[in-house]
């Protein structure tokens, strides 16, 4: 349902913007290229004297821009598009070498030092969760306000099977850093990552089956309800009928670290650490592990998106009625979206729990769900790369960026403002501003942007031509 423009009273800035953009697109290609190059050079030159590390990073991505978009290497089975392949590889390489160069690359403009290594680990965790939520929100268009529930299930799964929580049992299987006589269940974290994903996906199906029939906003509220119930169960779970399941508000700690064990450690000449906790720069090891998980998540997410299932998700997002008419089983497809999104949330939760070596009910508040949602929205719903950037940037801001900015503001202006305290409000403002100004996100997928501009989503069929 749309109203004639101009009835709202405010000047239509969007139309103005569109007009300028059209003027820009009418310019000859050569002129446009020159302007872009000039701007890029200017940006790098201005940044370089003050923050040369950041300027170099920007320069690398500016350079990648000049690879023609349609340049492709034909191989027997598929064409490999050069820019689309090289850009993520370059980003990955830069991320891999980050722990080595961190000390020597100056600081970030306007914020402070580059992220600490433990912040970097948390950034990978949130990037993974954002990519997982992106499957539900971005691909399938189901607003999930209780994603934190999946994170919690993953974390508690890891905690149950890799700690002394169930002290009556004594099960050991491939765990590192725990003596064979230590009570409790101790299973290798690598197995638990997978197990947490599977358990969480199952929970996703259980939550999804009764609720996915509901319309979008009801579904959002129901997921929010689950997101509130599960942490409360965790909080009260120290005597469920006399059984101590979750250790209540005290949480479960410590949780076993990941590691590759002595055999692999020796076989690779000490390259693979036998136990992450036992090595000096353990945050680096966690960071690389997190990075590997992000790569797997992204790969799976892209393959899912391009699969038959992923195309069905996008069809449902764009028009549920039409999708059903084309023979897409709505319930099954949505449930799969839920399960896949939940899977990655669970893996991320298990990894995070192992990194923090603890899990507490208070870690799982609605704020986290909204926080992950704002990552997806900021980055661009449906676009994996945008979502990763959104996740990394917001996680950094939440973890140390806001504190740095706050300290800077307070010292420069003599304020006494506890900026990190207002993180939820800042992320809330991001949600509002993004929805109003650029609803498809900073790096939108072309398809999603078209949907927002044309407004095909949720329109009744007879209105589609309007």
């Amino acid at each position: 349902m749309t109203y004639p423009k101009g009835m709202g009273g405010a000047p239509d800035l969007r139309a103005l913007w569109r007009k300028q953009r059209e003027r820009w697109h009418r310019l000859p290609d050569q002129t446009r290229r020159r302007v872009i190059l000039a701007i890029q050079v200017l940006v790098v030159v201005v940044l370089a004297p003050f923050w040369w590390g950041f300027a170099a990073l920007v320069a690398v991505f500016f350079a990648l821009y000049w690879i023609p978009q349609d340049l492709a290497i034909p191989t027997p089975w598929r064409k490999i598009r050069v820019r689309a392949t090289i850009t993520p590889l370059v980003a990955l390489t830069l991320a891999i070498v980050y722990p080595f160069v961190r000390g020597g690359i100056d600081s970030l403009p306007g914020v402070g030092p580059w992220p600490q290594m433990d912040t970097a680990v948390i950034m990978t965790v949130y990037a993974m969760m954002a990519v997982g939520l992106n499957i539900v929100v971005g691909y399938a268009g189901l607003l999930d306000l209780g994603y934190v529930a999946f994170y919690a299930v993953g974390a508690y799964t890891a905690a149950w099977f890799a700690s002394v929580q169930f002290a009556k049992q004594n099960v050991h299987f491939g765990s590192v850093g725990v003596g064979p006589t230590v009570p409790g269940i101790h299973i290798s974290i690598w197995i638990l990552l997978l197990l947490a994903g599977i358990v969480t996906a199952f929970i996703g199906v259980v939550i999804g089956l009764p609720t996915l029939r509901l319309r979008g906003d009801y579904l959002a509220i129901v997921t929010l309800g689950f997101g509130e119930i599960l942490p409360q169960v965790a909080r009260n779970g120290d005597s469920l009928g006399g059984f101590n399941l979750t250790n209540g508000p005290n949480g479960i700690t410590p949780i076993d670290p990941p590691g590759f064990g002595k055999t692999l450690h020796n076989a690779t000449g000490g390259f693979l650490p036998d136990n992450y906790l036992a090595i000096a720069n353990r945050n680096n090891a966690y960071f690389w592990t997190g990075l590997a998980l992000v790569v797997i998540t992204v790969f799976a997410s892209i393959r899912l998106r391009d699969s038959r299932l992923g195309r069905a998700w996008i069809a449902i997002r764009e028009d549920e009625v039409a999708a059903a008419a084309m023979g897409i089983p709505l319930m099954r497809t949505k449930t799969w979206a839920y399960a896949s999104g939940a899977f990655f949330g669970g893996v991320a939760g298990a990894f995070f729990a192992s990194f923090k070596s603890s899990t507490f009910p208070n870690d799982f508040s609605f704020n986290i769900s909204a926080f992950i949602l704002s990552m997806v929205i900021l980055g661009g719903m449906g676009n994996v790369w945008g979502v990763i950037v959104g996740g990394a940037v917001l996680a950094y801001l939440n973890q140390e960026g806001l504190a740095n900015i706050g300290a800077k503001l307070n010292s420069n202006f003599g304020w006494h403002l506890d900026v990190p305290l207002y993180a939820p409000g800042i992320f809330g403002a991001i949600l509002v501003i993004m929805m109003l100004v650029r609803p498809a996100g900073l790096l939108p997928s072309a398809r999603r942007r078209a949907e927002f501009e044309e407004g095909v989503h949720d329109q009744p069929l007879y209105d589609a031509a309007a």
Binding site: M1, T2, Y3, M7, G8, G141, L143, L145, P210, T211, R213, L214, R215, G216, D217, Y218, A220, I221, V222, L224, G225, F226, E228, I229, Q232, V233, R235, N236, E320, V321, A324, L330, M331, F366, N367, A370, L373, S374, I377, L421, Y422, P424, G425, I426, F427, G428, A429, I430, L431, V432, M435, L436, P439, E451, F452, G455, H457, D458
Partner: protein, 352 residues
């Protein structure tokens, strides 16, 4: 969704068949009643007193739930920020009672009554304007956008308001002076029903009646109902749709303001994040009663208030206050799954 809905909607031949889902639903309701009945027989006095407590609390919830229901009825938008506007209403009335009028725990009647009236009006006006402004800034530009877009901005606004409250109230709970008398009105088997409860409960009634009158009898109410039914048709009939929607938000906001004051008086404790929890409880109440349906919102709120008090106050096999939130959200989920149209609502194609 439509596929499964049609198969359910087919009229069954012969005896009305009860589906598996409704059977489970009925069983749950039956269990609830059995639990209540056993408690009633075991301790009638406690039951009666808890019942009254729940009724009072439910009426306060009702004021908030009405705000959700009004807005949902007209825009089909879950105004997520409503709970936080209610919280700011509590803050506003606290500021006026404790800072402007310097009320303590014991006050003369001559001072309390004007203070309460001023606080009520200020909180109502403040919340009404805030709610209207929120609609203008955050929801109206998205009127043609996908349905989830305004819901996301509403969540954003909710966090912004919550942080405003955090800035003003601080992270710890703030205690409100006992403005109303805490002496007993009457006693049932050792359980006292106190004056402040009675006053808070009774204050909600004229507000509710006035609102019913406004929506059912006045011209503006007619415009609201027309806009809720069909915005385009209403616009063609000469109704200023934007103004009607703004008016609805104004009314919803003023109800939140009134609820803010009454809640502060009732619990004598306010906190910056009360809006989130109470907003969800009130939303549950609105859904329970049938969202968009005003008497339903009040009925749902009273039921939720009672369930909460029963859960926290009864002695036989009650889960206790640790589980209140889980119970309320379970009710929300069960209602949405089994009877999305609520107790008093009509079955709509979107609901199922």
């Amino acid at each position: 969704m439509s596929v499964s809905a049609t198969s359910e909607a087919l009229p069954a031949k012969g005896l009305p068949r009860i589906g598996v889902m409704s059977a489970i639903g009925l069983l749950l309701v039956a269990l609830l009643f059995v639990w209540l009945a056993v408690n009633l027989v075991k301790e009638p006095a406690a039951f009666a007193s808890v019942f009254l407590d729940g009724l009072t609390l439910g009426l306060v919830y009702g004021l908030i739930a009405l705000g959700y229901s009004l807005v949902y009825g007209i825009l089909e938008l879950i105004n997520f920020a409503h709970g936080d506007i209610f919280m700011l209403g509590s803050w506003m009335s606290f500021t006026i009672l404790a800072r402007r009028f310097n009320l303590g725990d014991t006050n003369s009647v001559g001072k309390v009554i004007p203070a309460l009236i001023v606080a009520m009006l200020a909180a109502m006006l403040f919340c009404a304007l805030l709610n209207t402004a929120t609609e203008r800034v955050a929801y109206r530009p998205l009127r043609g956008a996908p349905r989830l877009a305004p819901l996301i901005t509403a969540i954003g606004m909710s966090f912004i308001f919550q942080n405003v409250g955090l800035n003003r109230l601080g992270p710890a709970p703030v205690s409100v002076p006992n403005v109303l008398s805490h002496n007993a009105v009457f006693t049932i088997g050792g359980h006292e029903y106190r004056w402040y409860q009675l006053i808070v409960g009774l204050t909600t009634l004229p507000v509710l009646t006035g609102l019913m009158y406004l929506v059912q009898r006045t011209r503006q109410g007619k415009a609201m109902r027309a806009t809720a039914q069909d915005q385009d048709a209403a616009a063609m009939m000469g109704i200023n749709v934007n103004r009607t929607i703004s008016f609805t938000f104004f009314i919803a906001g003023s109800l939140a303001g009134a609820a803010g004051l009454l809640y502060a008086l009732y619990t004598t404790n306010i906190q910056y994040d009360q809006g989130f929890t109470l907003g969800l409880i009130a939303f549950t109440a609105a859904v329970l009663g049938g969202i968009g349906n005003l008497p339903g919102a009040v009925l749902g709120a009273v039921l939720i208030g009672m369930i909460q008090q029963f859960n926290e106050g009864l002695s036989w096999h009650s889960p206790g206050s640790d589980w209140t939130q889980s119970i309320v959200f379970s009710i929300l989920i069960l209602i949405l799954v089994f009877r999305p149209e609520g107790l008093l609502g009509e079955r709509t194609p979107e609901g199922a």
